[in-house]
């Protein structure tokens, strides 16, 4: 699995879900950093500079969209995926405006979850190869 080469920052405020997903990610990814809200996530992003960001939307202090917008200002190419049940279309319109194109559907299907993460890993490889080829 391509994910073995990549680090992930995962942001989720709900403790049980956070623990469960963290355990799954730790099996497949090089490194997993975890935060419990957007503020903490943004600080951890700046400190660790992970390859992929994976976040819930509704969270206290700073929600997943605000955090994603701040991260995209730091690095517009940063791959970010949001967990969503597709129930709030206003969130999704905002997410598309921020430049987020990958979503993880709730409730979680583990195979689809890893397909999406592997797709993001591929995107990252392509984007890095493009940067290299431009010198």
């Amino acid at each position: 699995m391509r994910l073995k080469n990549y680090s992930i920052l995962y942001i989720e405020d709900e403790e049980t879900t956070q623990e469960l997903i963290k355990e799954i990610l730790e099996i497949e990814c090089k490194e997993v950093f975890v935060a419990s809200d957007g503020q903490e996530g943004l600080a951890l992003y700046q400190e660790k500079q992970p390859d992929i960001v994976l976040s819930d939307i509704a969270m206290p202090n700073m929600d997943g969209l605000e955090m994603s917008e701040a991260i995209k200002k730091i690095n517009p190419e940063q791959p970010i995926a949001l967990f969503t049940a597709f129930s709030q279309s206003s969130y999704l319109k905002k997410a598309a405006q921020i430049g987020i194109a990958t979503y993880i559907l709730k409730p979680l299907d583990e195979e689809q979850f890893f397909n999406s993460l592997n797709y993001m890993a591929l995107e990252l490889e392509v984007s890095r190869a493009e940067t290299e080829s431009r010198g």
Partner: protein, 129 residues
């Protein structure tokens, strides 16, 4: 490697292996129609996205729209055809899927649209995961 190709038209012009440009455009258009309901949802918005991405004028767009109605191929057959035309090249397929992704999320995105996009995406790329 080619730098980021923003639309289907660029991709076609850079990809020498595409033998039949019209067929490639029609197949791509019908694939997009299986992700989003071009006719019933925000038709105007999709029309403009199609024009930009396929470099079509109104007349060509309407001709392709007519072809969509006569579409007989399954999604697997379309994916197989496009993969072949892109030479099975992972980088080209990623560029192609980025464009499909744009269509999937263009109108605020519904669960159905996005799920369909994921299915198609994985048919193209699963072997590389």
């Amino acid at each position: 490697m080619e730098k980021n190709l923003k639309n289907i038209s660029d991709l076609i012009s850079k990809q020498a292996s595409i033998k039949n440009e019209e067929k490639f455009k029609v197949t791509s258009a019908t694939l997009i129609c299986s992700i989003v309901d071009v006719k019933n949802s925000n038709a105007e918005k999709f029309c403009s996205l199609f024009e930009k991405n396929f470099n079509l004028d109104k007349e060509a767009f309407n001709r392709i729209r007519g072809e969509i109605d006569n579409d007989k191929l399954t999604i697997d057959e379309k994916v197989h055809y496009i993969k072949e035309e892109l030479g099975g090249n992972m980088f080209q397929m990623m560029q192609y899927l980025k464009i499909l992704n744009k269509f999937a999320i263009a109108d605020g995105c519904s669960k159905e649209n996005y799920t369909e996009f994921e299915k198609i995406r994985d048919k193209f790329l699963k072997e590389f995961y």
